[in-house]
């Protein structure tokens, strides 16, 4: 049975120190909360590359395909010659293709953000502190219930100001 422990800090260097110590002790399942993005924290935790780029790429390609398909197929569906141009004239359609590439690229990126960061990987509500969006940092560790004392000791020894436990 696993349980979550949350340590609240005021200083980034203490957080990074705690992350290193926790990792060395074998508690790799942790989340760090911060009011702003921070590269030092990112390096300390060493996360894999975000998969959002695939959403953007797919969205862009999807948009481009839609752009070509839409313009060409609708022109063929009701063929009418305009100012002596071919029924399917690619150069003007490129404008539509371009706009739809950007549109779908952006919408898929948005979807990727929602799926990856707001639906997956969410922290339990009980282990959140409202000061994390203000000026405090936090480390949430998920560990077997028996090891809670050890985690608490590491958090305390690295200067956590407050410690909260998951009620579950």
């Amino acid at each position: 049975m696993n349980q979550g422990v949350l340590g609240i800090y005021s200083y980034v260097d203490l957080v990074i120190d705690a992350v290193h110590k926790l990792k060395r002790a074998g508690y790799g399942d942790l989340k760090v909360f911060s009011p702003a993005p921070n590269h030092e924290i990112e390096e300390a935790i060493d996360l894999p590359e975000s998969p959002i780029r695939f959403f953007t790429l797919f969205g862009g390609l999807f948009g481009a395909t839609c752009g070509f398909a839409f313009t060409i197929l609708t022109s063929l569906a009701y063929p009418i010659a305009v100012s002596a141009k071919p029924i399917v004239s690619i150069p003007p359609y490129i404008v539509i293709v371009f706009e739809l590439t950007i549109l779908f690229g952006a919408l898929f990126t948005f979807m990727g953000l929602i799926i990856n960061s707001l639906l997956r990987n969410r922290a339990p509500v009980t282990l959140y502190d409202e000061r994390f969006t203000d000026d405090k940092f936090g480390i949430m560790v998920v560990c077997p219930r028996d090891n809670i004392d050890k985690v608490e000791e590491i958090l305390n020894s690295t200067g956590a100001e407050e410690i909260k436990f998951d009620k579950a």
């Binding site: 569906a77 952006a106 203000d134 000026d135």
Partner: protein
């Protein structure tokens, strides 16, 4: 050197940033109402003029042979142009890592969204039967007809709606962490519920930041070519037409530079009163204005160069219609408008070459308003003068602005400011998270 880092008397800390930005969302003051109520009245004026026009017919709009694209299309191009600098500041300067954008980018982005909302009204206002505007949009219909994708007007529909969608999403995503900060601070229940919904459950964990910073980068990378394309497409509405004064290949870069030029001026016009009313001098610093002024100098030079190029090309083309058009612009019935444009866009910004002017708030405010006036006339000159003076002297004519057009134009400014005033009171208009990113990180061991 960024003054945010210099230690002032009351240093900016993480907690102070949150507090200062959230204080802007307090109950509206009497000053705010004093601005908001007249704004609403002018929106009402614009709306009444529009109702009058719809019920009476387009004749009240001052359209008469040979000018059938007048003030409404001028307003459309003007407002799309205003929108551009918001994306420049939020996306292009983000990619260039320009620090001076941090404190103003949210305001600029809001300006983009509201300006596109305003611009989008004008093609519809300009229609004789505005309720049929949806015919511009391709959708399956009983006649099995589709729009003509070879027409620049359809490109325009795609460019402007894409721009509105992407800039709104960019605007809202950029705000998620800040709305979460507001959510965690406010106490009253209805506000808390609204901010909770808008914050998408943001908690600020390292996973969220990882995806968020990546997504933001991609958004910036997508918005950059988009913003350059939008005004290029708008310029093709003209350049694709065989009208002397329109039919030229310099239009896309010329329009984009002009758009950024006018938009930056509008950012200055808007931020100066906000900075004063909310005492944001520690955030929106003179360095911010200095940076924007330098960009204005650059774009002013490009615009000035384009004015010159137009003349040279008209002369070099050997076409009497083309050359006649440009001589008419500078010396004909609209010469006053032409020279107002040249003075406001090319002569006035020369003052910004001096550092003292760039750091003088009052001077900047006046210059920024003059630039906006100049840029409105630039659009008017391109559109109306070209149409007034086409090929056949028998078909030449002079256009007069009607009071309905003037009312709707004034109403459009009020409409834009109305959104803006609501925005500064309901959403964090300075990016809390990005300002925190520029601050020294709190460390026990010093830094």
């Amino acid at each position: 050197m960024n003054t945010l880092i210099d230690p002032p008397k009351n240093p900016i800390t993480y907690a102070r940033v949150t507090e200062d930005v959230i204080r802007m969302l307090d109950k509206p003051s009497a000053k705010w109402w004093a601005l908001f109520i007249p704004t609403l009245m002018f929106v009402g004026l614009g709306a009444s003029c529009f109702i009058y026009q719809v019920t009476t017919g387009l004749g009240v709009a001052g359209y008469r042979h040979p000018v059938f694209w007048g003030v409404y299309i001028t307003d459309f191009v003007f407002w799309v142009g205003i929108a551009h600098s918001g994306t420049l500041i939020s996306a292009i300067l983000f990619l260039f890592r320009a620090r001076f954008r941090m404190s103003i980018y949210r305001i600029a982005e809001g300006m983009t969204v509201f300006a596109v909302l305003t611009a989008g009204l004008f093609p519809i206002i300009h229609l004789g039967r505005p309720w049929n505007f949806l015919w511009l949009i391709p959708y399956p219909n009983s006649r099995e007809l589709w729009v003509n994708f070879k027409s620049p007007l359809v490109w325009d529909v795609f460019a402007v709606t894409t721009y509105l969608t992407v800039s709104s999403v960019f605007f809202l995503i950029g705000m998620i962490p800040d709305i979460a900060a507001v959510r965690d601070k406010v106490k009253e229940t209805p506000r808390k519920i609204i901010y909770t919904i808008l914050s998408f459950g943001w908690k600020g964990s390292n996973w969220e930041w990882l995806h968020y910073t990546r997504a933001y980068l991609f958004f910036a990378a997508l918005a950059t070519p988009l913003v350059l394309s939008v005004h290029s497409v708008v310029s093709w509405d003209f350049a694709m037409g065989n009208v002397p004064g329109w039919h030229t290949t310099i239009f896309p870069p010329y329009f984009v530079a002009g758009a950024i030029f006018s938009g930056l001026a509008m950012v200055i016009t808007l931020t100066i009163p906000i900075r004063k009313i909310f005492s944001l001098e520690d955030y929106i610093t003179l360095d911010n204005y200095d940076g924007m002024s330098k960009l204005i100098i650059l774009t002013s030079c490009i615009v000035g160069y384009a004015y010159g190029t137009e003349f040279i090309m008209a002369w070099y083309s050997g076409s009497p219609y083309e050359w006649g058009q440009f001589v008419y612009r500078a010396t004909g019935d609209y010469a006053l408008f032409y020279w107002t444009m040249v003075i406001c866009n090319c002569i006035v910004p020369i003052a910004l070459w001096f550092k003292k002017v760039r750091r003088n708030i009052k001077a900047l405010f006046i210059i920024s308003i003059l630039i906006n006036v100049g840029m409105w006339f630039e659009r008017f000159n391109i559109i109306v003068i070209s149409l007034s003076h086409e090929f056949d002297p028998g078909a030449w004519g002079v256009y007069k602005i009607s009071f309905v057009e003037a009312g709707i134009t004034i109403g459009s400014f009020a409409w834009f400011f109305m959104f803006f005033l609501i925005f500064v009171k309901t959403l964090p208009s300075i990016s809390i998270a990005e300002i925190k990113e520029t601050l020294p990180v709190p460390k026990k061991g010093g830094h």
